[in-house]
Symmetry: C2
Subunit: 166 residues, 2 copies
DNA sequence: CTCAGTGCAAACCGTTTGCAGAACG
DNA sequence: CGTTCTGCAAACGGTTTGCACTGAG
């Protein structure tokens, strides 16, 4: 995916956040922040580690995990769990009101989209159930355009069972 | 949560599914199926194990996991990952068109609700992005009525960082 | 009687933690 | 210089797997 022009200022914001918290701004933390803020992808820790290695940084996984915690706490980065068995991280720079995700079951790519409808749903939920919404997650799984055009089909999970109440 | 009157027929359907696949209908598989089909809750494997123990069945975790795979393949049970670090399972008996979930961040309770809006969203996604939706996940996290009324508040995650492009 | 299932324990895998040595401020 | 961080390796917790034994058909 592409680069982010205002990444430097976000990296600076993270530095300020650390200083405000009385935490050291280390080389490792800056490197991890650079990787996240210069990508618009939804990166896993393994992918972050790989990109760090490509840049010549050799940073232990534990440090990456610890830095991700800080980035999430700083609110500059969002954590996602798309049910793949590991987490993904996305900086909040590009995604102003665009919070929802399309996940391709073939290639794993993640596309963001906006869903104004969800706010109406949340209002309804508050009225009908007395439930107070704090955050939500709207994810649509399927085939992205290019995989679909490439002829990919969904596994359909094979087996199934006729639902009929005998 | 409550009982399900048509659980017996669902258990029978699972037995038929197994036979159709040429798989043995064992006592353990029947016990596990009984536990899920007689509950409307979203159960974790640990909770299933505990309920089995309460009934006097002592079934190994490995067997429970293996049976859950079969139940999911049979399409009689749905797997959920609410980001708790483990999976939850829900039978498909009660939830006809009701697929979405409200998850209480205080007590962990899960309430189902229906969201017709999502179908409109999926249609739009197909048209705008060429993305072919297969399934979706709409989850709203917040405080359920009783926790809210009991005065619970959301942690607000403490720290944050002013988002301003310097 | 045969083939798949079960239970146990070990393996797995993403993530977390403890600790000695290295850096930040 | 004290305090926090880093890297390594070991620990963790949910899930999966290998294997000898049991049980369904």
């Amino acid at each position: 995916m592409s680069e982010t022009s205002s990444a430097p200022s976000f990296i600076r914001l993270f530095g300020r956040y650390l200083r405000d918290q009385g935490l050291p701004v280390t080389q490792q933390r800056e490197s991890v922040a650079e990787v996240i803020f210069t990508s618009t992808a939804h990166l896993s820790v393994d992918e972050i580690e790989e990109r760090l290695r490509e840049r010549g940084d050799r940073i232990g996984k534990a440090t990456i995990y610890r830095t991700m915690d800080l980035l999430v706490k700083s609110r500059l980065v969002e954590e996602h769990d798309f049910g793949e068995g590991f987490k993904r991280y996305e900086h909040r720079l590009s995604q102003q009101p665009i919070h929802e995700h399309l996940i391709c079951l073939e290639c794993g790519s993640v596309t963001e989209f906006e869903s104004p409808e969800i706010h109406r749903v949340e209002r309804r939920i508050r009225e009908e159930y007395g439930f107070k919404p704090a955050r939500h997650r709207v994810e649509i799984y399927g085939l992205c355009k290019s995989c679909h055009e490439a002829g990919a089909v969904l596994p359909e999970d094979g087996l199934f069972c006729p639902i009929e109440t005998v």
